[in-house]
């Protein structure tokens, strides 16, 4: 594995410009003061109740995601490039989805193989030929980015279904401003606070034609037991919209209403944080109690906008991911600004053979997995784990892809033995409305707190940092 790119230090002893002020501040600040504020931050998170649940653990597992008080800093120039690349990528994702559920030019051009679409469980035949309001499928995308050197941003994953984490971006900033006003005063940090306004504007802009001029937007949550419930309530609050559960909604004459203390009230746009499978028991899983019976027929009738649209999973599927550079070129005729990680598709015999020969050096992921569950990190795995995985892989090669172990860039992070470099990634949030794409400067930086670890997922012991984009 290559040496990780250090975002603060240049080999040889110099500092990268974006980190100079931070380094000066750290020198002036005694470690106890830093530790004191770290504890303060943790207390704040607990009091505000910013918790998440970990699936598969016993009850009362409301946990805090560890917060690291050292900000991750990027220059405005770096951000400008990243922003351009993200917009390009998300534009292509939306065009791809529109095409897949309509003309299918990309399949005819044989850029993406048919069976990868039609035999994919996240492909939704219900969406074939279905017009979605304003042709937007992915209104909110969370694109996971890693850095491996000074010049390259690499997309690790396109999250086009119900990406979460934006509440941490906002709360982390809030807490940093509260606890480190002195450090803020020494930087020009681009604000992220307008994210809720941008999100609401984007959601309102995609209201269906049958909506009134003041469309009603609601956020649909699976409920308090969902791992991201805090975020759902946080966003509903910031947007000033109702936080609804399936049982609060009812479909009548193909229109969606919420039950209020004053009777039924029409809803025009649903920012849904419920997976496709659970949206409508009449169309998808009949055992779902989280959804709304009849929602899909109201959707088909064009009376409700779902954000994100149904069936977007086909765009962020890990098998489709490997085709993204071609997808960008096909629809936009441009070279992709953001790179992909080299990916071996285990469905292809040649790739599979390579993967089986090099398991101890690769990261192998389930095509339909997410959240860091069910993956093999070759260099960190025991022989037995690798062998067990080999059998799985041989049994169902089409269920997996493999990637080289990336040397994720590092940032200085508080550890038990003082500041030390830890690996980070970045999830910026890209909003697509009817007319424009917006991204607030920043995102969620996740950090692998264990020394040497490359897994940043909160369910696997990762933490978060505030992400500063310098406004130069």
């Amino acid at each position: 594995m290559a040496v990780a790119f250090d975002e603060m230090n240049i080999p040889g002893g110099d500092l990268r410009p974006a980190y100079q002020e931070l380094a000066r501040w750290l020198k002036e600040t005694p470690p106890e003061a830093l530790e004191y504020r770290r504890q303060e931050a943790e207390l704040l998170f607990r009091r505000i109740g910013i918790t998440f649940a970990v699936y598969g653990e016993a009850e009362s597992t409301e946990r805090l995601i560890p917060f690291d008080v050292i900000p991750r800093i990027m220059s405005g120039k770096e951000w400008a490039l990243l922003e351009k690349g993200l917009k390009q990528r998300v534009r292509a994702l939306n065009m791809f989805l529109r095409d897949i559920y309509h003309g299918r030019d990309i399949l005819r051009a044989e850029i993406v193989p048919d069976d990868l679409i039609f035999q994919n469980p996240v492909f939704r035949p219900e969406m074939n030929g279905q017009q979605v309001p304003h042709d937007v499928y992915v209104h909110i995308a969370g694109i996971d980015i890693v850095r491996v050197d000074a010049n390259d941003f690499i997309v690790l994953e396109d999250n086009a279904r119900t990406p979460s984490g934006v509440s941490y971006m906002l709360e982390n900033r809030e807490i940093m401003m509260r606890l480190f006003p002195d450090l803020f005063a020494r930087h020009r940090v681009a604000p992220v606070e307008r994210y809720p306004d941008e999100l609401l504007a984007a959601l309102r802009s995609v209201a269906p034609l049958s909506a009134s001029s003041e469309p009603t937007v609601a956020l649909l949550t699976p409920g308090v037991y969902n791992s991201a419930y805090y975020e759902h309530s946080f966003l509903a609050d910031k947007l000033g919209i109702e936080l609804v559960e399936g049982r609060d909604l009812i479909v009548k004459n193909n229109e969606v209403f919420m039950r209020t203390t004053e009777g039924l009230k029409r809803v025009d746009v649903i920012y849904r944080r419920v997976d496709d499978d659970f949206l409508d028991p009449l169309t998808f899983r009949p055992d779902s109690v989280l959804g709304v019976p009849g929602l899909m027929s109201a959707y088909a009738a064009g009376n409700i906008t779902l954000a994100n649209a149904v069936g977007t999973g086909i765009a962020d599927d890990k098998a489709i991911y490997s085709y993204m550079p071609d997808i960008v070129k096909f629809y936009l005729g441009e070279e992709p600004i953001l790179k992909n990680v080299q990916t071996w598709r285990c469905r292809e015999p040649k790739d599979l053979a390579y993967v089986l020969d090099n398991l101890s050096e690769l990261v192998v992921k389930e095509v339909h997995g997410s959240g860091g569950y069910g993956m093999l990190i070759g260099p960190a795995a025991t022989k037995a784990t690798i062998e067990a995985f080999r059998e799985k892989l041989k049994r169902e090669p089409e269920g997996f892809i493999a990637q080289p172990t990336l040397a994720l860039s590092t940032c200085p992070t508080c550890t038990a033995s003082g500041l030390a470099p830890r690996h980070v990634d970045l999830r910026p949030f890209v909003l697509t409305g009817s007319k424009r794409i917006t991204i607030v400067p920043g995102g969620l930086t996740r950090v692998a707190l264990k020394e040497g670890s490359l897994v940043v997922n909160s369910s696997q012991g990762g933490g978060t940092k505030d992400t500063w984009i310098l406004d130069e």
Binding site: G49, V224, S233, F234, R247, R259, T260, T261, E262
Partner: protein
């Protein structure tokens, strides 16, 4: 607002009010039972604490004897008792989480902090009287803080009114229940009127609804049973009296009615109860029978809860 949100706010306020009432009941019972037996007679005060909390039947499925240890445990910490203080706080936090968007941060902070303290400090219950006193104070302070932050920080809209409805309905129920259990000591024809037994019983009743000082301010007299009853039932200036609860309930329901441009059965029913209270005096009530009066009130009051639920919350 969403019916579910209104329902959660309404129950949230009820749970907090109930937790406080239970803490007060335990507190008052501890005081009475600390007296020499000669002063309190042969009644089992812990038994009547269970009765006022409305959990006697389920208690005896678990315990043989109603003594301090068992009753305090059951009312405060038991997971099996759905309306133990612990479960009230748990339920209040769960409700708060479901309606965070409708709470102010001060209200959320109160409930969340209480829930954290419950887990971190009180998860094993209390072992000494001193601990218990601390715990009871913690519960009462939580309720005061919650109530105060709602009063001081909430917008005066339907969210506020529904939460007040929960509070006053629960409060009326609690006051009525204590009267229901203790009415016999309030009857003027009881033989040992004015004896030390009654004095402590009455002051215990007043204490459990935090009205002992108020009594002296209102009547400037020694404790007399009919005046105690008058204070708790008819006196509109005492916040925990039935009359006062109904003043508030009718006002809040009217505010909702005006905001929504529509009156309904809940408004009519509440007004009916308030009018009855307004036109009663203690003589009539004693003539009619305190017990019957209270029983009727409890039924009417829970009927109002059902009507509100049907009209707004589902």
């Amino acid at each position: 607002m969403l019916s579910r949100t209104a329902e959660n706010l309404y129950w949230l306020a009820r749970y907090v009010e109930r937790a406080e009432y239970l803490a007060r009941t335990i507190d008052a019972t501890l005081r009475v039972t600390a007296l020499p037996a000669a002063y309190i007679g042969k009644t089992n005060e812990w038994d009547s604490a269970l009765l006022t909390a409305g959990v006697a039947a389920s208690f005896y499925q678990k315990y043989e004897e109603a003594n301090e240890h068992n009753v305090v445990d059951y009312l405060s910490f038991s997971v099996d008792n759905p309306s133990s203080i612990r479960n009230c706080i748990e339920a209040a936090r769960l409700n708060s989480r479901s309606v965070r968007t409708a709470l102010t941060s001060e209200m959320w902070d109160t409930i969340n902090s209480a829930w954290i303290e419950l887990q971190e400090v009180w998860s094993k219950g209390t072992s000494t009287r001193e601990d218990l006193a601390k715990f009871l104070r913690f519960v009462q302070e939580t309720s005061l803080r919650f109530d105060g932050s709602a009063y001081r920080t909430m917008l005066r809209n339907d969210a506020y009114w529904f939460s007040r409805l929960g509070l006053h309905l629960e409060r009326a129920d609690n006051t009525a229940r204590i009267l229901d259990v203790k009415y016999h000591v309030l009857l003027p024809e009881e033989e040992h009127v004015g004896g030390p037994l009654d004095f402590y019983q009455w002051s215990s009743i007043l204490r459990s609804v935090s009205a002992l000082t108020a009594y002296h301010w209102v009547y400037r007299e020694t404790l007399k049973p009919w005046l105690v009853a008058d204070l708790l039932i008819l006196n509109g200036t005492l916040p925990r009296s039935l009359a006062s609860c109904y003043d508030n309930l009718t006002r809040n329901l009217d505010q909702i009615g005006v905001a929504y441009g529509r009156q309904g059965p809940a408004q009519r029913h509440a007004r009916g109860i308030r009018n009855r209270l307004e036109h009663s005096n203690m003589n009539d009530i004693f003539q009619h029978g305190v017990h019957e009066f209270i029983q009727e009130f409890i039924t009417d009051n829970s009927r109002l809860g059902e009507i509100i639920t049907k009209q707004y919350l589902i």
